[in-house]
């Protein structure tokens, strides 16, 4: 039986155990002569976060009301509906689309969206002959003001590793089969620029208003893992802001 790399990693993880802050645990063990099973930091992340937040609040380094406001914004206000409005505007207004493709951030700010992780924006356009896909192989860079916080899969090892070496295979897993004659451009967000894909306007969407068109624009179509599609009953009730 051959050992795959994943078997090896599983073994390594088991060996690493739960000591997530080994230096700290070690220092504590020496200081008090406790055995090393006693951890300074509880392993349950919920307890660890609670302890950290309490300490920072006690020290005057964190304002709990500020944390509430930050969570509220990213959970209820800043999400892919913002990006969808940008795309819908670009579909109906050629002059706006030109500004958006030339200099992303100021055009996005015209609709009122700005903020961290959107200071420099590059918008890349899908056409019948070109498809764009966005990834951050090194981390999790993502255009927050227009898409909100990234989904778990975007930040995951399978997506980050495969997007640059096997993008067409990856897209097939998303249910998107690209024709052979389409040029595929993968954008690895390694510096300060953040990327938004301008999907193609689908056939069947003729004559719709800008607001109606926005419902055709999904989060995934703005990452490049899907195309814009006619909304379904389900997608109209998605919970993202």
């Amino acid at each position: 039986m051959t050992t795959t790399r994943r078997d090896f990693l599983t073994a390594a993880v088991t060996a690493a155990g739960a000591a997530v802050t080994p230096d700290l645990a070690h220092a504590h063990g020496q200081e008090h002569g406790h055995d090393h099973d006693h951890q300074v930091v509880p392993s349950d992340p919920a307890l660890r976060v609670k302890a950290l937040e309490s300490l920072l609040a006690e020290k005057g380094l964190v304002d709990r009301a500020a944390l509430d406001a930050i969570v509220d914004a990213y959970e209820h206000k800043i999400g892919p509906r913002n990006g969808a409005r940008i795309v819908a505007r670009a579909w109906v207004d050629p002059a706006y689309k030109q500004r958006l493709l030339t200099k992303g951030a100021p055009a996005i700010a015209e609709l009122g969206y700005s903020g961290p992780e959107g200071e420099q924006m590059m918008v890349v356009e899908n056409t019948p002959k070109v498809h764009n896909l966005v990834v951050c192989t090194l981390c999790s860079c993502y255009p927050w003001p227009v898409l909100g916080l990234p989904p778990v899969w975007y930040k995951s090892a399978p997506y980050r590793s495969r997007a640059v070496i096997d993008p067409r295979g990856l897209l097939r897993e998303f249910g998107l089969q690209l024709p052979d004659d389409v040029e595929l451009r993968v954008w690895d967000s390694t510096a300060d620029l953040r990327y938004l894909v301008l999907p193609e306007r689908p056939t069947g969407s003729e004559g719709l208003s800008e607001e109606e068109l926005a419902a055709w624009v999904t989060r995934d179509s703005m990452i490049g893992t899907a195309k814009a599609v006619r909304p379904t009953e389900e997608s109209l009730h998605e919970r993202h802001p």
């Binding site: 690493a16 660890r48 006690e58 020290k59 500020a66 200071e119 090194l138 981390c139």
Partner: protein
């Protein structure tokens, strides 16, 4: 650093786990650590996350990594001490750092100051020029992915002058031009790659040499 975080091009990392109608957060503690991280101003978070032990990095969820790396970063900078973390009681005179107040949050959420540096720095490369990504292997933070090193691409666009992220921890931020560099997938991965596939990577001047 040639760490586990630099995973572009790795294979057999498992299936893509797609969650339909995924919530922004999966547990209340994820909300809190995200907000603490968002409000925090300690420099060097990315590197701190990159130096987590590789097995831990792969095992942990994104927000577990954030919790551990941010805690380690705050300890390293003396923002908190191990004793404080253990007892939960602040030690007097150890407060280091600024407080983001609730009143400041609305402005901070939409603050979009350009990171472009308005400096008269001449670009070393021109649009359309062939360039090679240098074979650099710093032990410190870098944004030069391993899969591009030594590979030849074309300057697609000059994005202007930005601080050099590799110099984040230094006093001299070494501002320089950043370019979008277009690499043919076949240049990166050989004949198995598709002829019509391209990878675009944003690269600072210091990563490049003429080809």
């Amino acid at each position: 650093m040639n760490g586990i975080h630099d995973m572009g091009g790795m294979q057999d990392m498992g299936p893509l786990e797609y969650e339909k109608n995924e919530p922004m957060f999966h547990a209340p503690w994820e909300r809190r650590i995200f907000a603490i991280w968002w409000a925090d101003d300690t420099p060097g978070y990315r590197y701190e996350a990159e130096i987590l032990p590789p097995a831990d990095y792969l095992r942990m969820s994104y927000y577990e990594r954030m919790l551990t790396a941010l805690t380690n970063l705050m300890l390293r900078h003396g923002k908190i001490t191990a004793a404080e973390l253990e007892t939960g009681n602040p030690v007097r005179g150890t407060r280091k750092g600024e407080l983001l107040t609730a009143a400041q949050v609305p402005a901070a959420l939409v603050k979009s100051e350009s990171t472009i540096r308005n400096l008269p720095i001449t670009p070393r490369f021109q649009t359309g020029q062939r360039v090679r990504a240098r074979n650099l292997n710093p032990i410190t933070h870098t944004r030069l992915p391993r899969y591009t090193r030594g590979k030849i691409g074309t300057i697609e666009r000059d994005h202007g002058v930005y601080d050099f992220e590799d110099a984040e921890q230094q006093l001299d931020k070494k501002p320089q031009h950043v370019y979008s560099v277009r690499f043919a997938a076949r240049e990166l991965w050989g004949e198995q790659a598709r002829q019509r596939d391209f990878v675009y990577v944003d690269m600072w001047d210091d990563y490049l040499e003429p080809a």
